[in-house]
Subunit: 283 residues, 2 copies
Amino acid sequence: MSFADRIRHCNNFDPARAIPLWAGEHRVGWLRRDNAALLSRHDTVFRVCDDQARLLPEGDAEFVSGAVDEVVETLVAEQRVPKWRNETFDVAPRWGEEPLFRVDRGAVPFFGVRAYGIHVNGFRRDSNGYSLWIGRRASNKQVAPGKLDNLVAGGIGNGHGAYGTLVKEAEEEAAIGPELVARAGAAGALTYRMETKTGIRDDVMFVYDLEVPPDFEPRNEDGEIAGFGLMPLDEILERIRTTVDFKFNVNLVILDFAVRHGVLRPDDPDYLDVANGLHRPLD
Amino acid sequence: MSFADRIRHCNNFDPARAIPLWAGEHRVGWLRRDNAALLSRHDTVFRVCDDQARLLPEGDAEFVSGAVDEVVETLVAEQRVPKWRNETFDVAPRWGEEPLFRVDRGAVPFFGVRAYGIHVNGFRRDSNGYSLWIGRRASNKQVAPGKLDNLVAGGIGNGHGAYGTLVKEAEEEAAIGPELVARAGAAGALTYRMETKTGIRDDVMFVYDLEVPPDFEPRNEDGEIAGFGLMPLDEILERIRTTVDFKFNVNLVILDFAVRHGVLRPDDPDYLDVANGLHRPLD
């Protein structure tokens, strides 16, 4: 096993198994063919052909979202979509643009629409190198229960923006108040496209670094994290390389941290597979 | 003009204007069609078809390099390749693998083989933010004469490796000795593919950050840099956005610095075009 395996796992999307979903002139999602077949029954909302599908309702975001929600209701009833998360994600032609519609978070991979999240590397640095605060996800989490996670991470729900989500999740997930969170610095964006049980994850992760003081200890407030521990980065990297203990996409966030902080270095023959592999083109 | 324009300029490669160059089972270069036509006259060394070209000699790197050199000699005489640089670059199937052959640096874009270089952001940080040491390239440089450049940058010639090139170029270009250069930290890899006058640049830039002390002043030793100046990052970014004063690929290195250090931030609607655009897949 290797670092590159972790990256490949998050990029197992196979275009032959999916068709693009269009809304007007914008490609807004990727439908796995079995999911597309399910949508073809809802022919007032989706027109499904062999090589593409189209969202038919036209109008403001509220109107289109309502039409999509009716379909999602059926999909939830049929257990094709895990369950309502009661948190909606914006679907826009491009990051920062007005949404064309919104969709319940649980249905995001079914439609393969692009989702955005934030991840925070909470770290300490001393003469022995870097250590990161690592959380263990609660065993009742829908995605990746019990897996190891970043200090703070969360999807960007509609209207929150990246920084707003960072502030909100830092408070809820780790009891990080405004003063400490203000020290977090944006450090880049990672991208991957992955087939999951539900469909396709087409994800963008905005990465932040937060150097925390020695007396800082995170405390989970929302029950989503079972506990936190401080781990030396070298140990984390070895565990990433040889196990699947970390949540699939958290492997990528920590590898990027190691690349940006010079812990992984160019003269390693596998360096480029990692440094370049963390960034998939946004087509 | 925008940051994204600078990135697009470095990624103007159009696959319709080029054919792949193969050596055995490895795609080792991209030949612009006019360059491919020139190679077709050397049919003991290259077999050129409509949709691909193939390097024919088989054997150790020295033997293959000799055959390629004979072709390069003609190309130089015909002024299709600028001139001999008397510095060779390795051509390997993949970073870190044994080279299949070597080629004179001046001919690298003609064959569109992948080239690797190092770039160093030499920076200072105080309460006003970041400043970078910027060099102005000598007016007799073959590539981008007179343009603004990083504190240190250089191509990785055969056998030097990334770190070895960093140490060598830091000394030659900016009189940075072993003690200071040891503080430079690897920070990632940027990639682009660009059509130039000579052919195709398929480039990987290994990026290093070097925080320099306030009393540091660079001094060029090899005549390749006309002078250095310390510039506030905000001013540099505005100049990158609105001018072409910086060497084409140096724009990318500094944008990456701004992304990694949180000077550009996710809530900017153009953020992803920059943060993601700096990384082109290594196909």
